[in-house]
Amino acid sequence: MSTTLAQVQQEVVEEFAMLGDWQDRYEQLIEQGRDLPLIAPEHKVDNNLVRGCQSRVWLHAEHRASDQPGAGIIHFTADSDALITKGIVALLVRVYNDRHPQEILDASTEFIDRIGLREHLSPNRANGLSAMIDQMKRYALAFSSVQ
C-alpha cells in the first residue's frame, strides 16, 4: 500500500496514453468522476467553491489529527455540477489524496500536460484546473505548519 504520489501520477499517464480519440478521453474523464470521494453535504458550501472555474467545484480538505489513523495526512473530498469538471477534480484527488502536506507541496504537476488535458481543455477549463491544483496546494501549505 506504499504507492508514492509519483507512482499514482504515472498510473494516470499510462491509462490516458492507451486512449485513442477525444471521445475515449472524455469518457475516461467522466468515468473518473464516479470514483470521486464525494464532499459531505455540510461542506458543500460557497466557502469551499474553487474560484476560476466556469462550472461549480467544491473542494474540502481534512487534516487527520495525530490520534487518528493516517495521522498528519490530508483527505480531500469534492464535487462539481459538471461531469467533465468532476472528472478532472476526481483525477486530482486521486493523485493528491491521503498524502502528507509536504508531499503535495513537492509534487510536480507535469502529469497534467502528459495526459494531454491542458491542450485538450479550453483556456477557461485549464484555468479551472490550475485553480484546483492551487487550492489543494494552499491547503497543504496551511496544514504543513500544523504539527
Binding site: 471521445q23 472524455y26 467522466i30 461531469l83 467533465i84 469538471t85 481543455l121 479550453s122
Partner: protein, 435 residues
C-alpha cells in the same frame, strides 16, 4: 425529364460569402471550424482586415493635429467612416456619431453623463430583466451616486418584455395609456422615471423588443431613452430618427468590424447638454489651470487619440454589410434559426430559452440532466464553437431559474449543413453525458 424544384431556395450564395472570411478555413481539433458564436463576436471579412492593414501600412498618422499629408489622409479616412456610420443608422449629423471603445464604454458614458445632469434622489431609471450586465451595472453606479432607484420591466416565460398591452389596439399609440390617455396602473413608467435604458435585441434570448413603441411612450412623458443596440445593428436595419431614441449604443466587433471600437449615437440637443465624460487631448477647446472649455461635438466626447484603425475598419464593415445586403443576410439567419429550432426540439429533454415571436438568429437552450459547460466542451471537441454560461445576463438566468445555457448564434456564412452537424454533435454529447 424536368429538373425537380429544390425544396429550399438558397437566399444567396453562401459559398461566395464564406470565401470572404479567411477564418473559416481554420480547423479546430482537426475538424473544419463551425462558428456559432457570432453574438459574442462576429468574424471579419477580408475587406475589413485589409482596410485596417492598409491604414497602418499606408496612412498611419495621428488625426486632427498634423499639418502633414499623412495626418490629413488619416483624418479624412476617419471622418469618412463617421459619415458611413451616420448614413447607416440615419443619424441627422455626423457629429451625432461618437466613437467609443465599444457598447460597454458607450453605456458607461451615457450613464455617467446623464446621471450627472438628470438624476436626483428618488428618481428612477427603468431597464428590463433581459439586459446585459453592461446595461445594468453602469446604471446601478449612477443610481448609487445620485440616490436614484433602478426599476426593472419583468420578462415573460417566452422571454419577452412583460408589458401591458390593450387587446385590440395597435401597439403604438396606446401601449400603456388607454384611449382616454389615462396612465394604466401596471405601466412600468412612473412620475419619477427619468431614463429608460433598454436593449433592442437580447444577446441571450434573441428577442427583438418593441423599442420604438416604448420610446414613443417614454417621450410623451419626457423620459430620456437609451438603447443598447449591440445585438440589433448586426441583424436589423436601424434608423435612429425613426426609433426616436436619444442615445443608441453599439459595437464594431459584433458587426464584422474590429474589436475595441464602438459607437454612441446621440441626439445633438442632448449631447450638447451633457457634460464631457473623460478629459484629455482632442476634447478641449482651450485649457488653462483656472478653466477649460471643451471642443464641439463629437470631439467633446472623444478624449485622447481615437482608435483610428478601428474606426476605418468599422466603416469598411458597414460598407461590406450594405454591399452584401442586410435583408438577404437576415433571411439566411432566420432560415438557420427556424431549422435549428425545429431540429433541436427533437432532442429529448431539450428546452429552448427564449421563444419570442420576434427573434434574431440566436438560440439558447438547456438539456435536462446535462451541464451546459460539459456540452460546450464536447461540441468544441467536434469543431463547433458555441457559447455556454450566463452570457453576462445573470438576472435573466435567475428569472428562468437556471445557471446558464448553451447558445448558438448564426451569421449569414453559416449553413443548414452546419446546423445539422451541431444537432448530431449535440446528440452524441448528450448520449455521452447521460450514460
Amino acid at each position: 425529364m424536368s429538373n425537380p424544384i429544390p425544396a429550399v431556395k438558397p437566399v444567396f450564395n453562401t459559398g461566395e460569402i464564406r470565401a470572404q472570411f479567411p477564418i473559416l478555413r481554420e480547423q479546430v481539433h482537426g475538424r473544419p471550424l463551425i462558428y456559432f458564436d457570432n453574438a459574442a463576436t462576429g468574424q471579419k471579412p477580408q475587406r475589413v482586415i485589409e482596410a485596417v492593414d492598409r491604414y497602418y501600412a499606408t496612412i498611419n498618422a495621428n488625426v486632427h493635429r498634423g499639418v502633414h499629408t499623412l495626418s490629413n489622409l488619416a483624418t479624412e479616412a476617419q471622418e469618412a467612416a463617421r459619415e458611413t456610420v451616420r448614413a447607416h443608422i440615419n443619424a441627422k449629423y455626423p457629429h451625432e456619431v461618437i466613437f467609443t471603445a465599444g457598447t460597454t464604454a458607450s453605456l458607461n458614458l451615457a450613464a455617467a453623463c446623464l446621471g450627472q445632469v438628470l438624476l436626483k434622489p428618488g428618481d428612477e431609471v427603468l431597464i428590463s430583466g433581459m439586459e446585459h450586465h453592461a446595461n445594468i451595472v453602469p446604471w446601478q453606479l449612477a443610481c448609487d451616486r445620485h440616490g436614484a432607484t433602478l426599476k426593472v420591466i419583468p420578462i415573460t416565460e417566452e422571454g419577452e418584455l412583460d408589458l401591458p398591452v390593450i387587446p385590440g389596439l395597435p401597439r403604438n399609440p396606446g401601449l400603456f395609456t388607454g384611449q382616454s390617455g389615462q396612465a394604466r396602473n401596471d405601466s412600468p413608467f412612473t412620475d419619477r422615471t427619468k431614463i429608460l435604458a433598454i436593449t433592442h435585441v437580447s444577446n441571450t434570448l434573441g428577442t427583438i423588443n418593441p423599442v420604438k413603441e416604448l420610446i414613443a411612450e417614454a417621450k410623451q412623458r419626457g423620459i430620456i431613452t437609451v438603447v443598447d443596440g449591440a445585438q440589433a445593428v448586426p441583424h436589423l436595419p436601424v434608423d435612429v430618427q425613426d426609433l426616436g431614441c436619444d442615445l443608441y449604443a453599439f459595437s464594431g466587433h459584433k458587426m464584422y468590424g474590429p474589436t475595441g471600437i464602438g459607437v454612441l449615437y446621440g441626439r445633438e440637443e442632448l449631447l450638447e447638454c451633457m457634460p464631457p465624460w473623460q478629459g484629455g487631448g482632442e476634447m478641449i477647446d482651450r485649457v488653462t489651470f483656472e478653466k477649460t472649455t471643451y471642443a464641439k461635438l463629437p470631439f467633446k466626447f472623444e478624449a485622447g487619440t481615437p482608435h483610428i484603425a478601428g474606426i476605418i475598419g468599422l466603416g469598411e464593415a458597414v460598407r461590406w454589410m450594405n454591399d452584401t445586403g442586410m435583408a438577404a443576410m437576415a433571411a439566411q439567419e432566420l432560415a438557420l434559426l427556424e431549422h435549428a429550432t425545429k431540429e433541436l426540439l427533437q432532442i429529448d429533454g431539450l428546452r429552448i430559452i427564449g421563444t419570442a415571436k420576434e427573434k434574431v438568429g440566436v438560440i439558447s437552450f438547456v438539456v435536462e440532466g446535462v451541464h451546459h459547460y460539459d456540452l460546450g466542451t464536447l461540441l468544441d471537441q467536434q469543431g463547433i464553437a458555441v457559447r455556454t454560461g450566463h452570457h453576462c445576463t445573470q438576472p435573466l438566468m435567475d428569472r428562468f431559474g437556471i445557471s446558464g445555457t448553451t447558445r448558438a448564434s448564426f451569421a449569414p456564412f453559416n449553413t443548414i449543413d452546419e446546423v445539422d452537424m451541431m444537432i448530431a454533435a449535440t446528440m452524441r454529447a448528450v448520449k455521452m453525458l447521460r450514460r
